[in-house]
Symmetry: C2
Subunit: 270 residues, 2 copies
Amino acid sequence: MQENQTKNNRAIGIFDSGFGGLTVMSAISKLLPKENLIYFGDSAHVPYGSKSKKVVTEFSTDISKFLVKKNVKMIVIACNTASAYSLKTLKKVIKVPIIGVIEAGSVVALQNTKNKKVGVIGTEGTVKSNAYAKEIKKHNKKINCFSKACPLFVPLVEEGWNSGKITEDIISVYLKELVDKKIDTIILGCTHYPLLKDTIKKVIGKNINIIDSATAVATAVKNLLEKNNLLKEKGKGRYEFYVSDDPEKFKKLGSKFFNNKINKVTKVEL
Amino acid sequence: MQENQTKNNRAIGIFDSGFGGLTVMSAISKLLPKENLIYFGDSAHVPYGSKSKKVVTEFSTDISKFLVKKNVKMIVIACNTASAYSLKTLKKVIKVPIIGVIEAGSVVALQNTKNKKVGVIGTEGTVKSNAYAKEIKKHNKKINCFSKACPLFVPLVEEGWNSGKITEDIISVYLKELVDKKIDTIILGCTHYPLLKDTIKKVIGKNINIIDSATAVATAVKNLLEKNNLLKEKGKGRYEFYVSDDPEKFKKLGSKFFNNKINKVTKVEL
């Protein structure tokens, strides 16, 4: 029992190309407040969305190996592009359980759609990979998926322009073709997008379900830990943050994405 | 003489974090069509604009060493962020003449302003470095410089949204405070921005001089080569392209920025 708790006290490793994955960390910390969490933001290589599968998989592998050295009990890929491109490879190379945001978001979308028309928005990489559609079709071949890359959403969020006329206009341009397809559910397939959720709702209306993959993946993490008897049972979780570029900037801007204060950030070279 | 021409036939090395520097390469190829040019686009690390001085200088040093191995006769830093952060360090480490876009753009702005109020727009890194203002003040302490980071301009250009209502609105938000300061000259302190030049002119009016640092740096390259007796005198220039990520994407999108077709792009690991 004692031995089991020592094993279970190990942290959950979470990584993303930058800040976006902090929305996933937020959701996990709310659902599982006892868990210790270690976050890695690859700020020297951000963004992943426009980069190749090969290079994103190289970055993801290096980070996962770093997290394993930190003795994590599982890894969450809190980045849609890295999940789309690298999950398969990482599952072969990394010895702890590893989950991505895409499977989790797909399951929740399947539970929500009634007319079987699902929209997916994300970075160029996520959309090009077609990963959400593949995942959804695995569960139900009758679902129609329509996807659209929205490359301006990440810089808009990083600029803090989460609402306002310009942001609404940009959302309207990107999402028009999905709305025209009569989708009843849309997956926010990028961990930055939850910060645009209210404005997206304002533009596309209340009748379309908006699936936030951050919340979905938190539930998936809980299920996986329960199933493997790995839940930490006592005490409040501790949080550690690592980045590959300027820790001060991460500390300052990270608070937009994370619901807690970020006290200490350490720069590491992989 | 023969020996001199062999020496002078060596290429000019040009580098940037991605595609933007191709606007500089375009300007150089127009002004100096006989010169051989080697371009390096650091697409695995793009963008530099939001990254730290330390990490940008590391990237720039690795690239410059690669270009020196390619036997270039001089290096042009075709990226404002890298020029602002790394030129000093590179001048110490690299043995061939090296120039950045900032000095060149500053000189032309000085020649153009009448009311001594100059605006500078660029990435977060370029603006934070205050490099244009420092350079301009070196020549004339009486000039007032007003700068503004415009982080959405690069993604707008990369999305191909060079004109239209949304782009005009974004330009208007960013440039309002500079226009209010009654600047008569504005430096486009980012190599992506020349593609927005017409729309910027439409928004801020014809009375403000727009200084495109790509054209300015081409003139500076010509002057430097003439001064050092390094001009190539015969034949048409040949162009080589290297990148640190997907060469196919570079080939396809690079043509937006470069006035010639890009035939062959080679991926290298530094």
